[in-house]
Amino acid sequence: MDITVHFYSYFRDLTGCAQTSEAVVAGATIGDLLKQLIARFPGLGAMQNSTLIAVGVDYQGRSHVLKEGDEVSLFPPVQGG
């Protein structure tokens, strides 16, 4: 299934991309998706422990199982204020 992926802040510079699509197998987790994305965009590798991940508008952990139509966002630690 295809997952829409958005990048924010300097993750756009690391990937050269604001939005993309990534095909994952049924039952794939966010952790699996992240591995695939790092293989495709090696610049994300160094940041992987501090990367924040949301599905829709809610944070999700690495073990969260993805489903068809999910919109996933990846971004660095937030810095509002």
Partner: protein, 129 residues
């Protein structure tokens, strides 16, 4: 709890915000916080900070924080304005107002909200030279 959230590229107009404050006669404390862009960011001089947000998620995360705030403290109203885009040195990027019966809870709720915002609300900054 009344809540008013504004995420905007417009400058923050403190005087206008002040003039729109409403509080009931059981309220004894108003705490404001104003966050202002400083001349130096990580020791390097800058001219401005550019703020970017994941808008829909930022709104949702602010509302989750307001939900928690309402459960923890007897706050009558919270108003928060976060500016996006280019904010020059000496201009405010954040304005927060908390109205509560007593000062202890107003200070605690205001500080908690800002701390949590900096942990979960998807807004990022880029210093501009």
């Amino acid at each position: 709890m009344k809540r008013q959230l504004t995420i905007t590229t417009e400058p923050i107009d403190e005087a206008a915000l002040l003039s729109r404050r409403r509080m009931s006669d059981g309220m004894g404390a108003v705490v404001y916080f104003l966050g202002v862009v400083r001349r130096t960011e990580e020791r390097a001089p800058i001219s401005a900070i550019e703020y970017e947000s994941f808008d829909r998620m930022a709104e949702h995360q602010f509302n989750l924080l307001f939900d928690q705030m309402e459960k923890r403290w007897p706050v009558e109203s919270v108003r928060l304005v976060h500016r996006l885009g280019v904010v020059r040195v000496n201009e405010p990027s954040l304005w927060v107002e908390v109205v509560a019966p007593h000062r202890g809870e107003a200070f605690a709720a205001c500080q908690w909200l800002i701390d949590e915002m900096k942990r979960v609300v998807p807004i990022w900054k880029k210093p501009l030279a």
